[in-house]
Symmetry: C2
Subunit: 354 residues, 2 copies
Amino acid sequence: MKKNILVIPGDGIGPEVTTWGKAALEKIAEIFGHEFTFDEALMGHAAIEVTGEPLPDETLEKARQSDAILFGAIGHAKYDNDPSLKVRPEQGLLKIRKELGLFANLRPILLFDELLQASSIKPEILRGTDILFFRELTGDVYFGEKTRSEDRNTASDLMIYHRYEVERIAHKAYQAAQQRNKRLCSVDKANVLESSRLWRETVQEIAKQYPDVETEHMFIDNAAMQLIKNPKKFDVVLTANLFGDILTDEASQIAGSMGMLASASVGESTGFFEPIHGSAHDIAGKDLANPLASILSAALMLEIGFGLKEEAKLLVDTIDQVLKDGFRTHDIADQSTNRFKVLGTAEMGKLVIK
Amino acid sequence: MKKNILVIPGDGIGPEVTTWGKAALEKIAEIFGHEFTFDEALMGHAAIEVTGEPLPDETLEKARQSDAILFGAIGHAKYDNDPSLKVRPEQGLLKIRKELGLFANLRPILLFDELLQASSIKPEILRGTDILFFRELTGDVYFGEKTRSEDRNTASDLMIYHRYEVERIAHKAYQAAQQRNKRLCSVDKANVLESSRLWRETVQEIAKQYPDVETEHMFIDNAAMQLIKNPKKFDVVLTANLFGDILTDEASQIAGSMGMLASASVGESTGFFEPIHGSAHDIAGKDLANPLASILSAALMLEIGFGLKEEAKLLVDTIDQVLKDGFRTHDIADQSTNRFKVLGTAEMGKLVIK
Ligand SMILES: CC(C)[C@H](C(=O)O)[C@@H](O)C(=O)O
Ligand SMILES: CC(C)[C@H](C(=O)O)[C@@H](O)C(=O)O
């Protein structure tokens, strides 16, 4: 198989983890005889520094021409500390999601047995958990009109949904549920929000087309609670953009660490694959980051982007083995025991590739 | 001390739990020689059934004339299943918050040692946690303009904040932090939302007036994760209305159960005290609900509403003792052992009063 892959390392720990996601793809190509060619482009703070823009035209052009994108992370402390800055790294990520029509963000909560202990949640609560989030990614308060009054004392963001936006992601989520445990939980705040009432109405309609899937509707506040109280009860979770952002980060504790979760954004064309962790400027460049989420992003690219199931499985199994052998990065090492061999980013990356 | 207290039982399990919050207040009055008089009023589905309105004028009038309000819960399955209904129970709660100017919702995460095991989170992660949430309660996407297009295919809610709304709750939160561990974490999504950028800017300004308090700003997605990863790191948490709704429900797992958490809404005049749990129609009328959150709401009324610290402490200590003696309601009983004496709502209520 021949594929053009665009690598966008981004900011903070992005470059150091993406190195290993890319290395994993190269290794897979070598083993299975595929031909993956790579190009690289700038986004976020890294792009602002060079071009003044968080998403340079050149990056968008390359993205459109690629078969899949491997992305690192975005964001920088400078902007977080100064809310008045006009040009911001995250605008690059939001724009590329919109421009490429990446309306469905899939976040599987993959639980490695070996990491059951790394979570703050009790192992007996976690064991057997297997959740697939479908987060809507190109609508909601993320993309609605923003205003700031002349005197700067009033600010607003429009939380808005169109029926077709809910429909298309609902179909994807239901289709996935049919392949899994046939349960779908749609999360909203329909007791307060009009956009959530549209969301709920629409999901109720779509549900009729999938009578084999059991549908539940849950308010976001309750969902945030149930997710840690009884994660096993969830199968496919369908959410709007903002609620999905919150719930999936929360769910990362189920997997033991944010450093273990990958996501796939798909929609109209090219797929976009990235760790769910952020740029973590505080540990950037210190060889402390966990490269496994980037390698798992590569696995998602193989599976969801290219339909290469066996190749993806090899990566996941290798990570599983490395964990079984007692190797850990800092974020997933239980400090209270010395059963584990704690590795830096590069050592862990090398080990998996080998 | 003479006080007029309005009891609004509301919907679902509201009436059966509020009975015990009220009984606790009566008992305290008897013991300490206070004169509490009680009146009752309708709100939510209960009010719609009788008057057609979720917040009848009479209820609002009584509320204005009372010194404090003890509330139960709101909501009904009928409305949750039919998003197209125009008159909805929750409108009553939102309206009374707005009308009484209850802009600050205080949600203490009170951890009873005895319940450490009832949580899905590991006891060693929880032990020592003591968080006080300040949730803004009369602004945000809850109260911004709602629209639905003619063809019903587009719906929106305006997420909006004014600087003075952020300032007044920030002051309250900082003042509380000064009396506690002098740490304040403000939660927002300033990397995406303009209203969050106003929020962050304003908190940064107010922070300068409280140099003895250490301020941290955190994105909501990260906060949802950190809260269960390392709850001990939080002291006072300051949030907007929607983010606070989500985080405090999530935090209820820290306290072992939603059935254990009370909240105080304060602002311009009369205080409003309620459990954070919802109406839980599925268990309503079955003597399964936990009355402790309503009794703890009564304790918050005594402490925050009337400044009666000793009286409040007696209620909290009594609950602590009842738990130490091995009594539990269903929600907090560990089913895997028979160390506990599991009681119904009324038995638990009676026991605490006695
Ligand atoms: C960086 C930020 C804009 C982004 C989001 O909120 O979507 C991130 O948190 C994510 O979840 O991908
Ligand atoms: C019932 C609902 C409107 C309410 C809210 O969202 O504020 C509830 O969840 C709460 O937290 O008090």
